[in-house]
């Protein structure tokens, strides 16, 4: 088996194992109020981190580029209660327009 095949298949097995492990942990572990409460606030940290990585990370570097304009426009749209799809499309268009204008 070539190196590429080993890498692809082994990484796939491990990835699935990691995903499945979260479903095999007994649910009662999560029914303790402390843990379930902590798990309800956890998404805010994860989602905020995803926003930051998607906006500012380029590999291991922090960069300020057209994605920031997209994010600002998305934030304005959200503050005006725009629907989800409108927020996403406006964010993409703003970044694309910024790049077309020659920045970021």
């Amino acid at each position: 088996m070539s190196a590429s095949w080993t890498a692809v298949l082994l990484a796939s097995v491990i990835a699935f194992g990691l995903k499945l492990s979260g479903y095999l942990i007994p649910p009662r572990w999560l029914e303790q109020p402390r843990i379930s409460s902590a798990l309800t606030v956890l998404p805010a940290a994860l989602l905020a981190a995803l926003v930051m990585t998607q906006t500012f990370a380029t590999g291991r570097h922090l960069t300020v580029d057209a994605r920031v304009i997209g994010l600002v426009v998305a934030a304005i749209a959200l503050s005006r209660r725009a629907p989800f799809i409108v927020v996403v499309v406006l964010g993409a268009l703003a970044a694309a327009a910024t790049r077309a204008a020659g920045w970021g």
């Binding site: 796939s12 979260g22 479903y23 057209a66």
Partner: protein
């Protein structure tokens, strides 16, 4: 928190799904450029199915890294899916054949849409719909990207990277109205940004999640 009608959940799922799926083109192109065959590129999306892990795998292989380095980078990034699975399991409790199916679909996007909903019905619909939409789109686009290689140019030209950021912002937005949500989100953002230059891609998100969990436990015990 805003309670969304099923139609609202569907729109979210489709928007996130489409924005992400379009990125699959670049993954397919990068995978082939890194020396994988079209079949191998497609198998990473069918079997591994976790964008960050896939990019890490082909990135390390493409830059001449060993099989083990590539698998380790990919697997480290996959740890967060186990964390997501804990949350999804608590909300939707899949049984029988649905359990491995749910496991395979447990990724950033399906979790993000699911946890952003305010009741279990919404979380269930958001998870499955987003997971399936991303799975189908991601695989089709990986094949397309692998076939046409780099000739499509850069998906960034179309602002698709910013579309993903906008989608995640829209998902966290309702949580920012409450003081505790705002604090935890700010903490996650700061942890992520400070660790991006230090840790391999994807791990800062794991760290932010872990810090958010610890902060959540402290909030409760106070």
């Amino acid at each position: 928190m805003v309670t969304l009608e099923p139609a609202g959940v569907r729109r979210q799922a489709l928007s996130v799904g489409l924005a992400t799926a379009l990125y699959g083109i670049s993954l397919g192109a990068v995978a082939v450029a890194s020396g994988l065959s079209v079949l191998q590129a497609c198998l990473t999306s069918l079997l591994l199915f976790s964008g960050g892990s896939q990019f890490a795998l082909v990135g390390v292989l493409g830059s001449g890294g060993s099989v083990w380095a590539a698998v380790a980078a990919s697997s480290l990034l996959g740890i967060r899916n186990g964390l997501y699975a804990l949350q999804i399991n608590a909300a939707i409790r899949p049984q029988g054949w649905r359990r491995p199916a749910a496991a395979q679909l447990t990724i950033d996007e399906s979790t993000a849409v699911s946890v952003a909903q305010s009741d279990d019905a919404g979380r269930r619909l958001g998870f499955w719909l987003t997971g399936l939409t991303v799975y189908v789109g991601w695989n089709l686009m990986t094949l397309l990207g692998a076939l046409i290689g780099r000739s499509i140019g850069d998906p960034r030209t179309y602002g698709l990277d910013a579309a993903a950021a906008a989608a995640f912002l829209a998902l966290v937005w309702p949580r920012l109205r409450h003081r505790s949500g705002l604090q935890i989100a700010a903490l996650g953002a700061v942890v992520d940004l400070s660790l991006v230059p230090v840790l391999p891609a994807g791990l800062p998100i794991v760290a932010a999640g872990a810090v958010g969990l610890v902060a959540g436990l402290r909030q409760v015990s106070r």
